[in-house]
Each structure stands twice: as C-alpha cells, then as structure tokens.
C-alpha cells in the first residue's frame, strides 16, 4: 500500500512514542508515564489509520461495532482482575493479540485473486505471521488454563511426546514451504493454522506452572514477531516497529527471567520431556516429623527478636495477606525489631510480581530487599518468617543435583537462627517437590491460611 508522506510522519511519531514509552518503563519513577506515552502512540497510530483508509459505510459501522465490543471487554477485565491473577491476565491479552495477528495475515492472503499468485514476500510473511500468531494464541490459552488452575499445573507428559511434537513442527515447515511456493493455496493456509494451534497447545502442556511466567514472556515476544510479520504483509511501518520492538525486548526479557531461575531456556522449555518425576511418588511426611507451634509462641519469639526477615511468597498473595503482613511488620518495628522483606526474583508468579503486591500494601520501598542484597543477612537474623513461599527457600536447589529446581538461586532462610513456616498444609510447592527445610529442627510450622495466621501473630506480638 502506498502511504502519503504525512501518514508516514504520523506513524513515525507513534513509533517514537513507543520507544520512549518502553524506555521510561525501565525506571520506577517514570514507568507509569512511560505506559501512558506508549498508549498515546497507539492512539495516534489508530487515528492515523482511520484517516488513511477509504472505508465504505458498512466497513466503518462494523469497525466501530467491533471496537465498541473489544474496548470495554479489555478495560473491564483489566480493572476487575485481582493483582494476584495478573500473570493470567497478561497471558490472555497476549493470546488475543496473537490470534488477531494470525487472522490479519489470513484475510490478506485470501484477498489475492484466484488467477494471480501472491508475491514471495507476501507469502513468506503471511505464513510466518499465521504460524507464530497461532502458536502464541494456543500457547497462551494453555498458560492461562494452568495458572487459573482450570487444569493441573504440573507438567503433562505422555509417551512419544517429543517425536510427536517434532513431527507436527516438521509438518508445519513442509506445509509452509508448499504454501509459499504456491502449490497449496488458501486450503493449505487453514491447515497450517490448525497445525500451529496444535503445536501451541502441545508445546506448553509439558511445562510446569512455576515456569509459566517465562513461557508467557516468550509467547509475548512471539506475538510481537507475528505483528511485525503482519507489518510486511500489509506494508505498514508502525506494525513493523511496534512488533519488532516487542519481539526483541521480549526475547531479552525471557532470557533475564530464566536466568533469575538459574535455568537455561532450553532446559525450562524441554526439561520435562522424558524425565521421570521421582519426587512426586515419594510423598512428604512419613518417618520425618515436623514441629508446629501456636501463634502465641511464635508471636513471643518474634517480639523478642532483634532482626526478622519476612520471606513472602505466592501463598501470601493468594490469601490477600499483604496488608496484614505490613501490620505485623509495623507492630514489630514499634518494639524496636528490624524488619526486612526478602524478595526472591521470581517470588509470586512473575519476576517483580511480589514487589507490585507489597507496593499495593504501602510497604516502604527501602524494606524490600532483593536476593543478593539480603542473603548474607540471614545468618544474623533471629527469625526468617516464610509466608506462603516454598520453592524459593528449598535447600534442594543447592544440595540435591537430582532435583528439578537444582541450580536455582534461593534465599538462605535456612541460615537464620529460627525459621517460621506459615503454610496451609504440608502440600509441596508449585514446583511439586518436597522441601527438607520443613523438617529442619530449627523450623516451626504455623498451619493455616496466611491471612488468619498473620492476624493472630499481630495480636500475639501486641500482647507480648
């Protein structure tokens, strides 16, 4: 499509706003305005496009209706979602974006008249956008289902999984080539869409729920690339810039996330294949015993400590206990106890998720300590208070090479003089593995919902 110069300049402005926005998102001070700057860029891009197109009345009505359906759905979902369900929300927004990218490419391909053949560039970018967009869509659906716990979060494996997935991927490549060279027309493209959807599902099924944030980040980058592909399909520069920015930065972010978990991306994506889940059958408890204490005992222990480090985990978020955690910290500080929060990079369900949740509860920024900053302090801490976390303090990551989380950097909660574990039950954590720290003689368990337990502790500390 030929674009008038003023259109290109407006698109350039939109692209610049995307870049400035992304850049501002990298500092806590300017992040919020960065998001608004990017949103302004999107608005300019959409407005420019309306001016550019020669819509018929029917198109225009349909366009307005479609936007009038989509906008409130997106806005309401984004407003209503709980902060704990954020990862699923991002997954679903990413999924619909990937789906849209695939559909755009399909329509453009269908428009090629039957008696003429599409250009090579068009066919290649259509095939690329359809395959990558559909994988992102289907993969996001599975990621959503796992995180929302509509499906078991544990890796789902079956015999022959790897060869089958390999065969599907190979079929996609062959079919894609056939479509590009023109042997197959639109029928081939629909088949390609179907196979890519199957591959998206099959690709995410064997990945455990704990690794899902990294997968979402990867699929986010995929959608970006599919959008960039569409930019070539419809000949639109703002799609190319926007999509490619996300594709590149998303790939980089994915790598940073898997690094934070101490795993290579390959191991994370394909690790479940052919691996026998030994620890699952073993089961917790048995001969090993745990020590549990009352809220009063633990409250007294906390009240007469010098230094307490709180290790918040996903359980805290689920119980919406971040505000009570803050109350406990305040009550302790009033007695002169030093309180810090040790934030594991992947605490919660996404990197940085826990910071968002604690910021919501107005926890002072200075009390949030990152792992490297706090890990040496555990040795001098009287109590490590583990609230709804499990895998991020599991010494198996250091000591047992056979463990699925071996090599992941962990918080050294086991070095504290006392460890208080607040858990709902002895159920293993999200990674599905037993935690030997629960059986440590220094450990006291406090069973129950994190919010109830914390409320009792606040009362106990105040009474002590």
């Amino acid at each position: 499509m030929h674009l008038a110069p003023y259109i290109v300049l407006l698109y350039l402005l939109a692209a610049v706003l995307f870049i400035v926005g992304l850049h501002q998102l990298s500092s806590p001070k300017h992040a919020r305005s960065g998001n608004l700057v990017a949103a302004l860029g999107a608005l300019i891009a959409v407005g420019t496009t309306i001016a550019l197109l020669h819509h018929s009345t029917l198109d225009l009505v349909l366009l307005v209706v479609a936007i009038a359906i989509g906008a409130p759905v997106g806005a309401v979902a984004a407003r209503a979602v709980k902060m704990t369900a954020m990862p699923q929300m991002v997954a679903s927004f990413n999924g619909v974006g990937g789906g849209a990218a695939a559909l755009v490419a399909i329509v453009e391909f269908l428009r090629v008249p039957a008696n003429s053949s599409p250009s090579l560039v068009l066919s290649i970018s259509v095939v690329f956008a359809v395959v990558i967009g559909a994988i992102s869509f289907a993969g996001s659906v599975i990621a959503y289902t796992k995180l929302q716990e509509l499906m078991r979060g544990t890796p789902i494996t079956y015999p022959g999984q790897q060869p089958v997935n390999g065969a599907v991927a190979a079929a996609i490549v062959v079919l894609g080539v056939l479509v590009v060279v023109g042997t197959l027309s639109s029928l081939g493209l629909w088949l390609l869409l179907l196979l890519a959807l199957v591959l998206g599902v099959a690709f995410v099924l064997p990945i455990g729920g704990a690794d899902m944030p990294v997968v979402i980040s990867l699929l986010n980058a995929f959608t970006g690339l599919a959008v960039a592909g569409d930019g070539f399909v419809v000949g639109n520069p703002v799609l190319i810039v926007g999509g490619t920015l996300v594709g590149a930065s998303g790939t980089f972010l994915t790598k940073m996330m898997s690094d934070a978990m101490g795993r290579s991306l390959g191991n994370l994506l394909f690790g479940a294949f052919g691996k026998i889940q030994v620890s699952e059958a073993a089961g917790p408890g048995g001969a090993k015993s745990v020590r549990s204490g009352s809220a009063e005992d633990i409250g007294t222990l906390l009240a007469y400590s010098q230094r307490v480090i709180i290790v918040p985990g996903y359980g805290l978020a689920v119980a919406q206990a971040q505000h009570v955690a803050r109350e406990l910290a305040d009550a302790l500080e009033k007695r002169g106890v030093t309180v810090d929060y040790a934030i594991h990079p992947v605490a919660g369900r996404m990197p940085g998720h826990m910071n968002v949740l604690l910021a919501e509860a107005n926890v002072p920024y200075e009390q949030l300590k990152e792992m490297d900053e706090i890990n040496d302090a555990f040795k001098t801490a009287d109590v490590a208070l583990v609230v709804g976390a499990n895998d991020v303090v599991n010494p198996a990551a250091r000591n047992s090479p056979g463990s699925p989380i071996y090599g992941m950097p962990i918080l050294n909660a086991d070095e504290a003089h006392n460890i208080v574990f607040m858990k709902r039950s002895m159920r293993p954590g999200f990674a599905g593995i037993d935690n030997e720290l629960l059986y440590d003689p220094k450990t006291i368990m406090l069973f129950g919902d994190a919010k109830d337990s914390l409320t009792k502790l606040v009362a106990a500390v105040k009474a002590a």
Partner: protein, 101 residues
C-alpha cells in the same frame, strides 16, 4: 526487490537492535510491568486489523476481519489499562500509608 521492501527491512533491523538496547537497564522489580507494557504495545496489531477490515470483501473475509478487530482492541485497551493499574502501585507514597495501622 523494490524500494518499499528495502525500507521495511531497514526499519525491521534497526528496531531489533533498538528493542534490545532500550530495555537492557530495567531493574527486576519492573519486569512484570515491562512485560505487560510491551504486551500492550503489540496491541498496535489493531492498525493491521483496521486495514484488512477496510479491504475485506465477501462474508468470510469480513467476519474474520471483524473478529480480528475485536481481539486486537482487547489486546490494546486491556494491555494499557492493566499496566497502568500495576504501575499505580509504584507512585510516591502519600501520608495515607501511615494512617492505616
């Protein structure tokens, strides 16, 4: 290879490098908002969906384009709103914080 394609490829290659460069200094605590924010940026696929909506002919193409516009709008609007909600939490803390406990 025509001039437009050459332009597009140049834009693409430059954007790849820009994408890597622009986020290389992000602190861990902003990873989640960043993922969400970049997720919103690829909502620009709405532009592509609008283009095909105007070009679509016949019921099949129109229906597919219609669905594409809805999905893209959800991505774009939802993406920015949810990111804003996350970042709202990072705003400078007012006296309000102390009054609660």
């Amino acid at each position: 290879m025509n001039a437009q394609l050459v332009n597009e490829i140049s834009i693409f290659v430059l954007a790849v490098f820009l994408g890597f460069e622009v986020i290389s200094k992000v602190p861990t605590i902003l990873h989640t908002p960043l993922m969400s924010g970049s997720n919103a940026i690829h909502g620009v696929i709405l532009v592509g969906a609008m283009v095909i909506m105007s070009e679509a002919t016949g019921p099949l193409q129109i229906v597919v384009a219609f669905v594409a516009v809805i999905l893209a709008t959800v991505n774009m609007v939802g993406g920015y709103v949810v990111t804003d909600r996350m970042l709202e939490m990072f705003k400078s803390r007012n006296p309000r914080g102390g009054a609660r406990s």
